[in-house]
C-alpha cells in the first residue's frame, strides 16, 4: 500500500492521526494548534453543513453573522461564563504593525494599543445577547431563532486534528423566547435534530442525555448532549444544546414587554456542533485500510478504476465508464473515474480504500464482454461480479444497505461495550477496559470530581433515550442512595 497507516490495534491514537493526514483530510499548520482542512476533508464537512443547515431551516431557524471579536469586559458579565471561557483565548491588544526600527521585519506599533482588548470569540453568547438587547422590545419580537456558521478560537494546550484545535469551525444557534417552557422545548428539539443527523447521516448511534452539573456549559441551567462511542471504547461528545435560563438576558439586561403588559427577562438557548464531528466520523467507523465513510456523507460515493492495455482500450473504457457515471448521476449518486495513467491499479485501490469511498467498480475488458463489472464494498471489503444491466439502481440500493450496515455495526459495538457496574472495585477494573459503564451515582458534583480524579472517568450523560435505567440503588463511590443509573466513561 502506497500510504501506510498504523494498525488500529497497535496504537489507536497514531492510527487516527495517520488516517487524518494520509487520507488528505487535514494537517497541522505553521500556527500552533490551528489546522488546515484539506479539500477532501472540507468536502465531507460541507456535506455535513448542507445537511444540518437544511435541518435547521426546516425547524424555522435563520442564519446571521455576528462579530469575530468580543470586548474583554463582555466576558465578565456572566459570572460562570467568564470562568469557563476567559481563561485560554486569543487576545487582540494592538491594531497596527510597523517596520522594525532595528531590523528588517515588522514589529507591533506600541502607539496602536487598543483601549479595551478584544478576545477572539470562543463562543458568542455575550456579543449576541448584547445585540439581541436592541432587537427585543415586546413579546411580538419573540422568538428569535438565529444560527451562525463561524470559526471560534479556544487556546487549547494539547491539540489533535479535528478533535481539539485552537481554531475550529462550527455552528452556534442562539435563540430567545418569551417563556422557560418554550426555551426548554427548543433545547430538546435541537438535541433531537443533532441525534437525527448523527444517526441517519453520520451512522453514529449516539445516546441522548443530560449533562451532570459538573459537565454543563458555563452559564447554562441544563445541557443536553449526544454522546458517541469510538472504537477504542472511549466516549466523544458530538453535540450540545443548552437551556440558558435568563442568565444572559440578565447579564445584558434584555427585557421584553409581555402579553400582560409587564416586563420579563428573555429566556435563552444555545446549541452547537463543530468540526469535531469529523473526528467522531473517522474514529467511529474506519479500519486499518483507511476511512470508512457513510454513503450519506461521502464526497465520492462510487469510484471506477479501469483495467486496460494501451490507449485504444482505455478510450473504449472511458466511454463505458462515462455511461455508467451518467446513469449514477441521474440517480443522484456522485462518482469519480480514476483514469490516471501514472499509477497502477493496485495503488488506486489502496488510495480509494484509504479515502473511504463506499463502492469501487473495477472495469476490465473481460467483464465488459461478460456483461458484468466487479464491485467492491468498502464497509465489508467484499468483492463480486454485478450485472451491468440495472447497475445504477443496484448501487443505489447498495448505498442504503452500506449506510445501514455501518450504523448497525457501530450500534452492536456500543451495546457490546456497555454494561452495568455496581461496586467501586469493579468500576476501577472495568473502566480500564473502556466502554460505557452504567452506574448509580449520588448526584453530587464532589463525588463526580473524586471519581474523575481517581479513574479519569466522567459522567458522559444521564441518558434519556437509550440505556435508561430508572431503579433505586446505591452510588458506586459513596453508597448514598441513587434513583437512576448514569453513563460513566473515559472520553475525548
Amino acid at each position: 500500500m502506497a500510504k501506510e497507516v498504523t494498525n488500529r490495534e497497535d496504537n489507536y491514537s497514531l492510527w487516527y492521526n495517520n488516517l487524518v493526514v494520509k487520507a488528505d483530510l487535514a494537517e497541522t499548520s505553521a500556527v500552533r494548534g490551528c489546522m488546515v482542512i484539506k479539500p477532501y476533508g472540507y468536502a465531507i464537512w460541507e456535506k455535513m453543513q448542507h445537511q444540518l443547515d437544511s435541518m435547521f431551516k426546516a425547524t424555522g431557524h435563520v442564519n446571521a453573522y455576528f462579530p469575530l471579536f468580543i470586548p474583554k469586559s463582555f466576558l465578565s458579565r456572566e459570572a460562570e461564563h467568564v470562568e469557563g471561557f476567559a481563561k485560554e483565548c486569543a487576545v487582540v491588544t494592538h491594531h497596527r504593525l510597523m517596520k522594525d526600527p532595528n531590523g528588517s521585519g515588522v514589529v507591533v506599533d506600541p502607539d496602536a494599543k487598543l483601549e479595551e482588548e478584544l478576545v477572539v470569540r470562543p463562543t458568542s453568547e455575550t456579543i449576541i445577547w448584547n445585540t439581541y438587547k436592541n432587537w427585543i422590545k415586546s413579546y411580538r419580537d419573540l422568538p428569535i431563532l438565529c444560527n451562525q456558521w463561524a470559526n471560534v478560537v479556544r487556546w487549547e494546550m494539547r491539540t489533535r486534528l479535528f478533535l481539539r484545535t485552537a481554531e475550529f469551525l462550527w455552528q452556534e444557534g442562539h435563540t430567545a423566547h418569551a417563556t422557560a417552557a418554550e426555551a426548554i422545548a427548543e433545547t430538546e428539539k435541537m438535541v433531537g435534530v443533532y441525534a437525527d443527523f448523527a444517526r441517519n447521516y453520520m451512522a453514529l448511534p449516539v445516546v441522548v442525555g443530560h449533562k451532570s452539573e459538573g459537565e454543563r456549559f458555563a452559564g447554562a441551567l441544563d445541557t443536553l448532549c449526544i454522546e458517541a462511542m469510538m472504537q477504542d471504547g472511549k466516549a466523544l461528545q458530538a453535540g450540545t444544546s443548552h437551556f440558558l435560563g435568563q442568565n444572559f438576558a440578565k447579564a445584558f439586561d434584555v427585557q421584553f414587554a409581555n402579553k400582560e403588559g409587564g416586563l420579563d427577562y428573555v429566556w435563552a438557548t444555545s446549541w452547537g456542533v463543530s468540526t469535531r464531528l469529523m473526528g467522531a466520523l473517522i474514529m467511529a467507523h474506519s479500519d486499518n485500510n483507511g476511512l470508512v465513510l457513510p454513503p450519506a456523507l461521502a464526497p465520492i460515493q462510487v469510484v471506477m478504476v479501469p483495467i486496460y492495455k494501451g490507449e485504444e482500450e482505455l478510450a473504449k473504457m472511458r466511454e463505458y465508464m462515462q455511461k455508467v457515471g451518467d446513469e449514477l448521476a441521474a440517480l443522484g449518486i456522485s462518482y469519480k473515474i480514476d483514469d490516471r495513467d501514472n499509477v497502477r491499479s493496485g495503488f488506486k485501490f489502496a488510495e480509494w480504500e484509504l479515502k473511504g469511498v463506499p463502492v469501487r467498480l473495477t472495469i476490465g475488458q473481460r467483464d465488459i464482454d461478460a456483461g458484468v463489472v466487479e464491485l467492491a464494498r468498502r464497509d465489508t471489503l467484499e468483492k463480486g461480479a454485478v450485472q451491468r444491466e440495472g447497475l445504477a439502481a443496484h448501487i443505489k440500493d447498495l448505498l442504503d444497505k452500506i449506510q445501514k450496515n455501518i450504523y448497525d455495526k457501530a450500534l452492536a459495538f456500543r451495546d457490546s461495550q456497555t454494561r452495568k457496574v455496581d461496586t467501586w472495585e469493579e468500576f476501577k477494573v472495568e473502566i480500564e477496559k473502556g466502554g460505557f459503564l452504567l452506574c448509580h451515582w449520588d448526584g453530587s458534583k464532589e463525588t463526580e470530581a473524586k471519581i474523575q480524579e481517581e479513574t479519569k472517568a466522567t459522567i458522559r450523560c444521564i441518558p434519556i433515550d437509550s440505556y435508561v435505567v430508572e431503579e433505586s440503588g446505591k452510588c458506586i463511590y459513596t453508597g448514598k442512595p441513587s434513583a437512576r443509573r448514569v453513563i460513566f466513561a473515559r472520553s475525548y
Copy 2:
C-alpha cells in the same frame, strides 16, 4: 411609511445607511468597525455564496480552510505584500486572561505573552503559500485550484456597513500553476466568472479591465477587476483577480520538478469577492422606497398580502394564498404569505417595498370573485390586475423581465454617465459631476498620483470589454502620448 428612509437626492450617503439598517440587512456592533449581518441581509449573502460556489465548482475549484492567524514574520516575506497589509491589522499578543487582582473584571495575563505575535488574516496568500510548499513537489501536483470562504480583518479607520468594515466575509481563491500562461488564463477565467455573476445575478453592468500599477494588489504582477457604477456616479470595485507571478512561490520557496526534470518556481493567482458586493447591490438599484432586489438574489421573490374583514374571510384567503404559494414553489419561486393581524396592509406594503421583494400580490375578496389578483412590481412600482389562471407561469416570466429591466436600467444609467474628456480643465469640471471619464493617460504612476491628489479621482481600470478606445492621444494631465483611454472616476 413606517420606517422612513432619507431621500437619495438629499443625502446619498445617509440614504444608503438608512436602507441598510431599516431594511434589516446589517447594523453596527459593540466592536468598533465590525458589523452584525442580520438574517435578511445574510439570506441575500447566502444566495450570492451558493451561486458563486457552484460557479467555482463548475470551473474545477474545490474548497478548503486555512488558519485564521498568520505569524507576524510571514507578512514580511513578500516585500510589497507587507507594505500593503501589515499596517492596519488585528494583532494577537497574548493567549490568556486572568482575574483582575485589583478589581472585579478580567485582565490580560502578562505571563501568557506569545513568543511571536499573530495577525488576524487580512488576506491569506502567506499562510496558504507556506502550506502549498508541502503540497507541491512535481508538475503532477499542479494545478491546485483552492477556494476558501472565510472572515478577514483589516483595521479600517473609517468604516461603512458592507462597503468597508474591519471584519468582513469573503471568498479567496488561491491557485498554483506550472506555467505563467496557465496562471494568466486562470486570472482571466475568474474575472470572467465574477463578471458573469455580477451581470446575470446582481444585475450589475460591470466593466472588466486591468488595474493600473498604482491600484494593483500588493504583491501582484497584474490585477483584473470588475468595476460597477453606483447611482451617485461613483465607481465601486466589486471583485478582483490577481496574477501573482512567482512572487509568493519565491517568498515561501515553493518549487516543483517540471516535466523536463528541472526545478521551477510555481506560478500563482488569487481572486476574491466579499460582503462589499452587498453594498454594490444596494447602491446600484435601490430607490427612495427602499431596496430593489434582482429576483435572482431576492430571498423572497413574491409576497402575498391579504385584504380581509374578520377571521372567517382570512381563513378562506389563507387557503387561497397557500394554493398560489404551492404553484409558485412548484416553479422554484420563493414566496411569503404576510397574514399578520397586528399591522395594517399599508404598513405591510411599505415594509415589503423597503425590503425589495420583486413582486407583491394583494388578495381581496372582490378580486378573487373576479378571478384576478392585484400585482405590484417593485422595480417599476406599476400595479395592475392579473388573471388568477396561469398566475404562477405569468410571475415566472415576469421575474425574468424584472431581472432584465433592473440590469438594463443600470446599464443605461452607466452609459449616460460615461463620457470622453480630453483636457485637464474639462476634467476638473466633469469629475465633479460624477460618472466614468474616458481619458488618455501617459501610463505613469506619478501622473495617476497627481491626478488623484488634485481631484480624488483614480483610474478604475484599463477596460478590456466595454468602453475600449484604442486610439492615440495625449495624456490629459501631462500631454505625453497615450495609446488608449482609461476610466477615471471617484470611487467607494
